[in-house]
Assembly symmetry: C2
Homo-oligomer: 375 residues x 2
DNA sequence: TGCTTTTTCACAATCGTTTGTGTAAATTAT
DNA sequence: ATAATTTACACAAACGATTGTGAAAAAGCA
């Protein structure tokens, strides 16, 4: 008689989603009391609180976040948009975000734009409809303007970009100091005695590739070396693309003595091509990449590369989000967090007598932990 | 006067979350009409529908999924629990799930158990509180019983497992035929003339490792070879673990002439150790791994490995979920989908005269696409 | 024209929480 | 002992959408 949903049968099929009303009835108090007891409101007596909590456990009460979010106007959902979830970088960033978010009681909704701006637009609408408390996004390659993000701002939903942004726009973002990364890698090659250093660049409308290139140029300049157009090759950053670029460089009357690629796959392609031609690495040509992918430690020789601090980036992005909601009053909340990259020096660029590879900064790093996965 | 939220200033700060009520007022009709027009209900005239749709676009109306979900009792959210989001396998599966889910209008909430059953429990509660329409999960290593999943069943929320399950329980799941994978790999090594084949096994309480081992044993038996305890090494499936196991095997009076590891990292460790000892692969010892990680194509020689069909698994898992909701009446919905693995044969196991590596089944596969990522 | 059927829409309850306001009882102060 | 506080709780209105029921207007049929 007390049961609201009376099935014809008494079988314990998909049974009672016990609600606060149930608790209230059982205890003979109002829902207000239940709600306030559960949220530890000061106006509820300790005895009542205990009783409510106890009954809640007993009846296995599960709060309905939807209802709460609806009433309060803000949910505990966080939207994340990435081009792809696969691949080391974004997967690690998402890992960092999810870990931090879950500690703070947030659940993360993941969306993939598939490098398509139209899909990115849809993702935004989906997330807004889901009433997320905030949106973290790394732009798709095909995103050339910010129009669709205006809607987010209209809704007053905190927006944080990470890694990929559009230049010139004032947005909240956490970024890697790509220029510094490019600078460090190039500088290292210079210190190894290389003087004709080639560079594989990615699409220049993306801040990341533009800045890596700038770092490369800055390093050259610091050694008083004028950049040479023929040594800068545009590359799609695939293994095949890297090999193709390398092959082209070898046709030059005066080939380079080192290559710095803005991506690890490309530098791997270069390595494979060089080996197939019998050219020694690093003696004849030294190599350095970007991203510190797992493959850098599998290739032979192991590849020098710039680490992007993926997990830190994820943590920082979430932290920036919470900062934004905390300081919801700040007039111009235009914050940028810049992470410092870390160069991992390995055999592919070490020309010093000792062929012993050494790692810059702290030791072996994240790879071992990442490899202990059971699939 | 008509504005419900009247700010003191007229500045277009976090402005109007326009609701159905707004549309109704503007058009002078009831909310019922708005709601039904938006969901294309038959009882709304075409003229009215047009008007509503038009105004919705004009005012930039965004439906509040929370409210709808609350009323309807079911959301368009899908919960996914994985041990980790990093690493090729789970990232790819999640990619598959998200792609399929988003096509069907579902958003996916991602949770990581970090291989911890306590965290897994929390994840479940979080997802239930979020009123997800279904839960897809791959068990953590430390999960030894199903108690916490009973609650899910109680709530009537569809539950689908993938890859990792607990044996003996009747659950809906999509699995890889790991036994077949182990069988194919071992069989291939046998066909290459190997007769003393070692095996690196993982934790045996996990279905995946148990079955891979069974496939190994079955293949040996098909050749009338009795398994040898000393050739089966328990391994944590890391690079270091694989190297250690390999080193132990080399101390045997009669070392193996091949190794099949239940994971790629372990087989890579074995390869590295063998090379450091000057032992030739595959001539002296042939190698085969499991998972078809990217590193298999970077190592030299390239590593033979069993592909797990990650993306198909994700798609299948989502599809199984939708099947469950469609057939909500079926008495015993205990369905299992089994995917067939695919052996990729590469140089590490090819003893035939030609050193040319060949790939079983269709060509090069997923790697190239996966490498064209820009980070 | 009178009656039935269809089309088109409004009323109002409901999903499960939260929260401003009101009000008894219990405690303290005077 | 009476007034001023504090404590502990209930009422009821939201939040934004969905939906069974019912009723008026339009259309079809004789």
């Amino acid at each position: 008689m007390a049961s609201r949903r009376s099935d014809t049968t008494k079988q314990p099929e998909a049974s009672s989603p016990v609600s606060m009303a149930d608790l209230a009835r059982e205890l003979g108090v109002s829902m207000t009391t239940i709600s306030r007891a559960l949220s530890d409101h000061h106006s509820i007596g300790p005895a009542t609180k205990q009783a409510v909590l106890k009954l809640a456990k007993k009846l296995n009460y599960q709060p309905n976040h939807l209802a709460a979010a609806l009433r309060k106007g803000k949910s505990k959902l966080l939207g994340v948009i990435v081009p792809y979830i696969e691949g080391r970088f974004f997967a690690s960033v998402v890992h960092g975000i999810e870990t931090a978010a879950s500690k703070a009681g947030f659940s993360v909704i993941i969306c993939q734009s598939s490098e398509d701006v139209a899909q990115e637009r849809k993702n935004l609408e989906t997330l807004l409809s889901a009433q997320v408390a905030g949106i973290l996004v790394s732009l798709s390659l095909t995103t050339l303007d910010f129009k669709h993000f205006e809607k987010v701002r209209k809704h007053g939903v905190p927006l944080v970009f990470f890694d990929r942004i559009l230049e010139g726009d004032n947005v909240n973002a956490v970024l890697l100091n790509d220029r510094e990364g490019g600078y460090q890698a190039t500088r290292h090659l210079l210190e190894q005695g290389c003087r004709r250093i080639a560079h594989f660049v990615g699409m220049q409308h993306l801040n990341i590739y533009k800045n890596r290139r700038q770092g490369y140029l800055d390093a050259l300049q610091s050694y008083g070396i004028a950049p040479e157009e023929g040594l800068i090759k545009s590359c799609d950053m695939t293994v095949e693309g890297g090999a193709a670029c390398m092959a082209e460089l070898l046709t030059l009357p005066q080939p380079p003595d080192a290559v710095f690629a803005a991506g690890d796959s490309a530098i791997l392609g270069a390595l494979q091509l060089l080996k197939s031609r019998g050219i020694r690495v690093p003696q004849d040509i030294a190599l350095a990449g970007f991203s510190n992918e797992a493959l850098t430690q599998v290739a032979e020789p192991m590849l020098t590369s710039v680490d992007q601090r993926c997990e830190e980036m994820g943590q920082a992005a979430f932290r920036l989000f919470t900062d934004l909601v905390d300081a919801k009053n700040a007039p111009f909340s235009q914050r940028q967090v810049v992470l410092q990259p870390q160069l991992f020096i390995r055999a592919s660029s070490l020309r010093s007598g000792a062929s012993e590879p050494a790692e810059a900064g702290d030791a072996a790093g994240a790879l071992p932990r990442r490899q202990a996965r059971h699939t």
